[in-house]
Amino acid sequence: MERRRAVVSVIGKDKVGIISKVTTILADNNMNILDISQTILQDFFTMMMIIDVTGNENLSQLRDQLDLVGEEMDLKINIQLEEIFQAMHRI
């Protein structure tokens, strides 16, 4: 099966438990994290994860769950297929 990867980005004010909440959702959906990086820029928490979504045709359920956490913790969480970044930034 062709490998499908997505980028989860989390941006917002830093607080306790962000990574834990987000990764719990990913684990519940049986999605493996391939890479993770995180920084704090002027109090702003920024995390990028590359996750394996091979075999998950429909990401909308996951998106809804992430949106819920985003609202709860006042974070902006996006999930986008990796190809969009490859297309825009790689030749």
Binding site: M48, L59, K76, Q80, E82, E83, I84, M88, H89
Partner: protein, 453 residues
């Protein structure tokens, strides 16, 4: 990580803060096989074909937009110019067909259906005549049907009989929708050198050289270009061009990927990518503001054409590198009512109708979404069309006229069109008559292709 964090952040910023979007995914559908000598049969054929081919268009577009996190603003359909399949249909039947198209668009949840069109740059066929006669009513009784008429090309010259007739068509369409500020005219474009694969409205139609069905994609992003330029206030104009080029490249790549995915999922060939900087009334999503960022106090002042020429060319260069199939109009649109910067330019007295005309020599289309005084005569409208067509014919480029004579409004008043169509200050036209020239009719011959100075 194969992609750097700042690159991911850049993409997210472009979408969420700078209005990067896929402006439209447009499905082109050929209706040639729908022609029938029995009108009702043809009507059924048309409805059935459109609603079958495009039944998943909206669904797939919404799915794809979610997966890639780049919004697709409009889902549209373009069809074979309707005049080509009309045959012996009457004017009343043609209006009925427009309603059928409107119904199909509503049922499918698409925003617009373009191609209620006729190509008459050399002369009129029977179907063309019927279509032109039906236009004022057809455009005022439908919501989502868009029309375009080709009245000139570089190779055929300008059909001044068609130009004359369209002056009356525009005037009547405005009168019929006077309660809505003449909105019917916002759905009619008069072209010189139209392109067959344009995904943008109101001028989209599925040209004669196209296949059975095709997906064309229009991407836009004035806000992204504006923000990129803001970071380099001291750059010289060569560097400005380079910044626009690089930005256009990235925008086009995003559009191409999404266009291809949509096409693949619908099982329809991918046609072209049209990278056009098309403004909206959203804050900072303005072409005029890009020109001002390049260094003009207000759009319309001296230097505007040079800045626009630079920008239009840089957009094309970036787009051409990014996609294997760049087509459509690819460049910059300068619709007045959809661009807050243009509106401000007019209100402040910096931007005039004459300057807008001059700008169309170097941008991708023409006089677009301009509100003019309601008492304008059909002959003056025709003469405006003739001027634009001449610019396009001589410069071998697409030009167009989409003006709205707003019934009962005077110069300086503000009119609202609503939604994506925005609002516009009413502009005055030259008070001197062009009647005698328009009355002459006939055809302006095609220009020489050599001795071109």
């Amino acid at each position: 990580m194969t992609i750097a964090m700042d690159e991911i952040l850049q993409t997210i910023r472009m979408v969420q803060m700078e209005n990067l979007d896929i402006r439209t995914v447009t499905m082109g559908i050929s209706l040639r096989d729908c022609a029938d000598s029995d009108f009702h049969k043809m009507q059924q054929n048309v409805f059935h074909k459109i609603t079958t081919y495009a039944k998943d268009l909206t669904k797939v577009a919404v799915e794809t937009e979610k997966e890639f996190g780049v919004p697709i603003i409009n889902k549209r359909i373009s069809i074979t110019p309707i005049a080509e399949i009309l045959g012996n249909a009457t004017v009343e039947q043609t209006v009925e067909l427009a309603k059928t198209l409107d119904l199909a668009a509503k049922q499918l949840g698409v925003d617009f259906i373009g191609g209620f069109s006729a190509l008459v740059h050399k002369g009129f066929s029977k179907g063309d005549e019927t279509l032109l006669k039906s236009l004022p009513e057809a455009l005022s009784v439908t919501e989502r049907v868009c029309s375009s008429v080709s009245v000139a090309t570089t190779r055929t010259g300008i059909n001044m009989d068609a130009v004359k007739q369209l002056g009356y068509v525009i005037k009547e369409a405005a009168e019929r929708t006077k309660d809505q500020n003449g909105i019917a005219c916002a759905k009619l474009v008069v072209f010189c050198n139209p392109v067959e694969d344009n995904p943008f409205m109101a001028g989209a139609f599925h040209g004669a050289g196209e296949g059975e069905a095709v997906i064309n994609v229009g991407v836009s992003g004035p806000g992204v270009v504006l923000n990129a330029l803001k970071k380099h206030p001291q750059a010289d104009l060569g560097e400005v061009s380079d910044i626009i080029k690089k930005t256009a490249f990235k925008i086009t790549r995003a559009g191409e990927l999404i266009g291809r995915v949509v096409a693949e999922r619908l099982g329809i060939p991918f046609g072209i990518m049209d990278l056009s900087l098309a403004p909206t009334n959203a804050i900072n999503d303005s072409v005029a503001e890009i020109l001002e960022e390049i260094g003009l106090e207000r759009v319309g002042t001296h230097g505007t054409i040079a800045a626009l020429a630079l920008m239009n060319d840089a957009v094309k260069k970036g787009g051409a590198m990014a996609s294997s199939y760049v087509g459509g109009l690819s460049g910059a649109f300068i619709p007045v009512s959809e661009d807050n910067g243009m509106i401000r330019g007019i209100i402040d007295g910096a931007l005039s109708l004459s300057k807008l005309e001059a700008m169309t020599c170097v941008c991708s289309v023409g006089l677009d979404m301009i509100a003019i005084t309601g008492d304008v005569t059909p002959a003056t409208l025709s003469a405006m069309i003739a001027d634009e067509a001449a610019i396009g014919m001589i410069n071998k480029k697409t030009t167009a006229v989409r003006v709205i004579p707003v019934p009962g409004k005077q110069e300086g008043e503000m009119v609202e069109f609503g939604g994506l169509l925005g609002r516009a200050p009413v502009m005055g036209v030259n008070p001197f008559s062009s009647q005698n020239m328009i009355n002459r009719g006939g055809r302006i011959p095609a220009p020489l292709q050599a001795l071109i100075n």
